[in-house]
Symmetry: C2
Subunit: 344 residues, 2 copies
């Protein structure tokens, strides 16, 4: 009985509980009992059972049954973590939508969805391993644990990874080292003497690379290291708090590289609060991952990759993988496109 009770309620369970056939239950569930002339009393008994037993329909079964056999449905997903801000994927989403709209035809339809995993627990996402959820995915915002999982298992369908290098997958990422170095060049080129880099505490491969490349370039060019400012996370609030503390300890700070734009946004606030002008007193460089970086005050100078190129490459790889025109893992590097705006 303990065993029996655990099994989820199906149409069949409901049917035998009420003492009718599954067909009758299904009729009621679809609200077609009038046209199929079920007795009102029976309908009520079935409804009662549905309520009592807490029936939850199996959407996979419904979909299999309901789909039009002349139309192929292709399911695409953008996989990101709950913890990453959604705006990070809005450009990828828009491009995927455009691509998909082009390829939609009467016999081939696409669905695009954004699916979230808990950062570091990608492996727990249902349907990933057994290929029962997607025909193709773009995976982004992974943590090292997720990367380890991906390295260990090659998923048996079209997968493109953004921002990481994994030998067994197609990957698209900014040219390693390039962004950080350019940020350093911009700041030092303006005459900054005490440049710092702000990072969140938890670093992804990309943010770590940006910070390291920045530090290395500063050391190369000046012989001195760059100060590292650690924020608790990547929210503006965290950036603001971290920078306030930093300015107390290093009042001479005159240049800042933020590895995410939200940190730069918080930094702006902290700088203005203590009366420093951007860029006159402190120059700031971001990476262009925020849609509205050009509307910050002052507009944020950015050294990130051109996201348009990144997402275009991702889509090309994804659709090539799905049509099996490309089979081998590839790495695509997108160089940073410097957006000179007012902040540096």
């Amino acid at each position: 009985m303990a065993r029996g009770e655990k099994r989820p309620v199906t149409v069949h369970t409901l049917a035998s509980h009420v003492g009718v056939s599954p067909a009758a239950v299904s009729t009621v569930l679809a609200n077609r009992h009038e046209e199929r002339r079920l007795a009102p009393a029976t309908v009520e008994r079935i409804r009662q059972a549905v309520r009592e037993l807490g029936y939850v329909p199996n959407v996979a079964a419904r979909r299999l049954r309901a789909h039009d056999p002349d139309v192929r449905h292709v399911e695409l997903g953008i996989l990101t973590s709950y913890e990453a801000p959604l705006f990070l994927i809005s450009r990828a989403l828009r491009e995927l939508q455009r691509t998909v709209d082009q390829r939609t035809s009467p016999e081939r339809r696409y669905s695009v969805s954004i699916d979230m995993y808990h950062a570091g627990r990608l492996r727990e996402m249902p349907g990933l391993l057994n290929a029962s959820r997607f025909n193709g995915v773009v995976i982004t915002n992974t943590l090292p644990e997720d990367d380890a999982f991906l390295k260990a298992t090659t998923l048996p369908y079209a997968v493109v990874v953004q921002g990481r290098r994994l030998a067994n997958y197609c990957c698209v990422l900014e040219t390693p080292g390039a962004g950080g170095r350019q940020a350093a060049e911009i700041l030092l080129g303006r005459g900054c003497r005490q440049p710092a880099v702000v990072t969140p505490r938890l670093l992804t491969e990309t943010t770590a690379d940006r910070a390291d490349a920045f530090a290395a370039a500063v050391r190369d060019l000046t012989g001195q290291g760059a100060v590292r400012v650690t924020a608790s996370d990547f929210t503006p609030q965290a950036g603001s708090d971290a920078l306030r503390a930093h300015l107390q300890a290093h009042p001479g700070c005159d240049g800042l590289f933020a590895v995410t734009d939200t940190l730069a946004l918080g930094a702006f606030q902290a700088l203005k609060a203590v009366g420093r002008r951007v860029p006159e007193d402190v120059a700031v460089v971001g990476v262009g991952d925020h849609e509205h970086a050009g509307y910050f005050d002052p507009p944020l100078t950015c050294v990130g990759p051109e996201y348009g190129t990144v997402v275009a490459e991702i889509m090309a790889l994804l659709f090539n993988l799905m049509s099996r025109r490309r089979v081998n893992p590839t790495e695509v590097f997108v160089p940073p496109a410097v957006s000179h705006r007012r902040s540096a």
Copy 2:
């Protein structure tokens, strides 16, 4: 033949094309041909056919077959339009994730996904009508066409609509009229004489209500109307352009209500470009739909509803609907929480 060729390729198609049984094809697709001792030549022929015929697996069928019968899978979706900015739903997403994490148990798992429709074409979303995709959804960012569609058909599963009033669904929205009126009171209270309201060209029910309530309140309180500034859409760029034009025509403008925060962000830029100070020369009020409104410069005073309350109400309704504790449509109004910041 034309008919036959149109039908999508299934395992069965592949099998008869190669001259083997579906079981053999399935074995190869799952990469289990070694342990099941298929002849290498056969494997190669099957692989070839998969490539040639462009086979796309049916994920619904896989899911039905692969799922663990002891675990009930509940599929939840947040439905938004491609055209609406993603950050609008980040709060709802976070709350849904929290709720779902609490309710997850060994015999009940939840999947959360964000699914997009083209604004005005919600009806085309696959699986919406036949309930073959979701066990429960939150629908948001609809256009009037979508609202009309929803009014016409009551979807047979748990649905909560955000920001619209539809008699046949559970709806959660800001108290009608409240935000616009408060914005008017704030601006007039500061002594503004020529208040204006910026809206995108395409109005949703919510943005229209905000603008109308604002105009009505201004008329009530001053006897004069409020000027309406129309931006091409709701991007900062559009807001900036619209405001530049408005300032040319109405140099005396001293107060602004933006029905979305992104428009306010663009307005800030236009105002600063022509040397107006915020709030000294022009006071600005937004609605708090942008995560970072508090980090704009100056921080944006907002009159929108408390999103925390909105999403909490949505989740309560959604789960009550799914457990059938509530069956009747309900309207929940969330009053605006005024965030007084520097911009007004």
